[in-house]
């Protein structure tokens, strides 16, 4: 069997659980970027995000043989594992206030010096990390991970109304933080 794009996540997980190297590679090709992006945008630290991505996939490989299709959507489970690992790290940061915090994202050059896409990216990262974690999570899930409101609310264990409020407040804060970029376009 090939590991084509038409194969479902469940099928790939089941084959990966049997030690099928092609399925392992196909799952990584399909999901790693998504997992890494979620972790990096939640944590704001590329090195920590890589650790979380590795830990997440370690769990995937470890549980793949016992995966039961239909009981839960694999993508939802993957998001939940990644988010929980991110929150473990955010909690540890709070509990160890004397530990050296991760490097603050570089806010980049002043607008009048011209902005490259990478500079804007750094500004966005800084603005995201300045948000309260739950607002950041809502924006990352709905905007970057493209989850629907019901799925995102379930993952966050909040009502759809609460999700909407988190999204609104988060986006408003981002708009304010990035206002100078809009005016320099």
């Amino acid at each position: 069997m090939t590991s084509g794009e038409s194969e479902t996540d469940d099928e790939l997980v089941r084959r990966a659980g049997r030690g099928d190297a092609a399925a392992v590679q196909a799952l990584v090709a399909r999901k790693l970027r998504r997992v890494l992006a979620l972790a990096e945008r939640m944590l704001g630290d590329p090195a920590e995000a890589e650790d979380v991505a590795q830990e997440t996939f370690f769990k995937v490989w470890r549980y793949a043989e016992r995966w039961r299709p239909g009981a839960a959507k694999f993508d939802t489970w993957l998001h939940r594992v990644t988010l929980n690992l991110c929150y473990d790290r955010l909690r540890r940061r709070r509990e160890r206030p004397t530990a050296e915090p991760p490097d603050a994202p570089d806010p980049g050059p002043a607008p009048d010096r011209g902005l490259l896409a990478a500079d804007v990216g750094r500004r966005v990262n800084a603005a995201l990390q300045a948000l309260p974690p739950r607002q950041r999570e809502a924006i990352v899930l709905c905007h970057y991970q493209d989850l629907g409101n019901i799925e995102a609310a379930e993952l966050m264990k909040v009502s759809v109304e609460a999700l909407e409020s988190l999204l609104s407040r988060g986006r408003r804060a981002l708009r304010q933080a990035l206002a100078d970029l809009a005016s320099s376009d």
């Binding site: 030690g19 890589e50 470890r62 489970w77 939940r80 690992l85 970057y144 999204l167 809009a182």
Partner: protein, 141 residues
Amino acid sequence: MTEDRFRALAEAYGADLRGWPPAERDAAQTFTEANRDLAGAILETERSLEAQLEAYIVEPSPALRQRVIDIAPRARAIARTWRWLATLGLGLGLAASAVAGAAAGFSFAPASVTRLIEGPPASSSDDIGMLADPTDDLVNG
């Protein structure tokens, strides 16, 4: 749909109506068609923010990709070892229980042991497909 509701939805879910709650999309589309300038201005504000957000790109490195692939065999081996140890532990537990039961005059194992040997019910939190909190079993590499 009122202007306030349209604005609230745009501020929460962004400029693309396809990302709005399905139950409100039709009404939002109708509002957009009936109030082109107003709806256009509201959505444009959100579109501008989203263009900025898209500049934050994350791509996995080839090295990370390879590391994630390389840990698969070890993770499977650990999972199998744990399952083997669990089975062995349960087997020993059952044997010990049977001996103790025989000594005490019972001819059957306690229900708790029987349950363990038969495995958890389908809705158990040990079932990966049903995990409520899938990281309860933390992996440290």
